[in-house]
Symmetry: C2
Subunit: 190 residues, 2 copies
């Protein structure tokens, strides 16, 4: 998606160790018009997968998942990383490594909002190692739901996430696909 | 706002201790169409305050802040509760008590995205004691910005937040204003 790639080239910062900082338009400050355009693009690409629900992880997945939900007219569930007092005692919980926190984090979804036989579209900000998305897929499968698609704003193909997700056997879409961040230079695929 | 009040009456659950659970459409599962309508309503109510930026707190403020940002065409900054590796060492940080966590949490904003002389519209999911919003106001003031409005989806007037925010002397709007949760019954103002 050219609009997102152009923005990454203009405002993204390579911090080293494979970290791309996009805090000025995705991860701390959000550009709503860009995020709305990304949601519209995901809605187009996943128009025919039959999704009944969108699943993401707090925090930075919420914005693209919400705009995708607006354009597909589907409810959005964000997995919590700590259990709020409003959540029942019995939950779906899995662990996933956090790239930016350097430790395992919990991903928790209430059975109230992930019922049996949902068709789940996973949307997140980054597809890197794929471990967060695999965690979300485990939660969905534990509930008896089926994953029907995976979308990420930004894919870092050099971290191998697409291969890690291959066993899910679903359509995977990224709106900006980065081949390399070597030498502090952002290189997109094709 | 009738649409939000009706939804609260239908799907909100009173858990006791003044806690209103709206996890099925705001705090865990999000209804994107409702959230978009709420963002449009905030945009109408704050059309003339001259805001240049929207400020909220992760996690549950992100959805209404984002849809407000879409309709006002303004960037949204969400204060982080832990400092990611992408954030510079020098930040604006304050502490605020978390109602649902029962402890103090940090609210952190990078000076990169809250510059001097911004006019800041604060949007959050709840206005209860007002302490989170006061924390956001302190961050904005530390940056040399000015608060120009405060919007909350749901106000619990019996927690006194509006009085706590009076010294900011700005327009405060809530889309659903709850007078009482006594006897597990939701009673709206007027």
């Amino acid at each position: 998606m050219k609009q997102l790639q152009d923005r990454i080239m203009r405002d993204g910062q390579v911090l080293g160790n494979g970290i791309l900082k996009v805090d000025s338009f995705v991860n701390h400050q959000v550009d709503p018009a860009l995020m709305d355009a990304c949601g519209r693009e995901f809605a187009n690409r996943f128009a025919n997968v039959g999704a009944t629900k969108i699943l993401t992880a707090e925090i930075s997945g919420i914005a693209p998942a919400l705009t995708t939900g607006i354009h597909l007219n589907l409810p959005v569930v964000y997995a919590r990383k700590s259990k709020p007092v409003t959540m029942p005692d019995q939950v779906y919980l899995t662990l996933a490594p956090s790239h930016t926190k350097g430790r395992m984090v919990e991903l928790i979804v209430s059975p109230e909002y992930l019922a049996n036989n949902e068709k789940v579209l996973i949307i997140d900000d980054f597809l890197a190692s794929g471990q967060t998305i695999l965690g979300l897929a485990r939660l969905a499968e534990a509930s008896g739901s089926k994953i029907v698609g995976i979308g990420a704003l930004i894919e870092k193909i050099f971290e191998g996430g697409r291969a890690a997700l291959a066993s899910l056997n679903v359509q995977i879409e990224s709106l900006a696909c980065i081949a390399s961040l070597d030498n502090n230079k952002i290189t997109f695929v094709d």
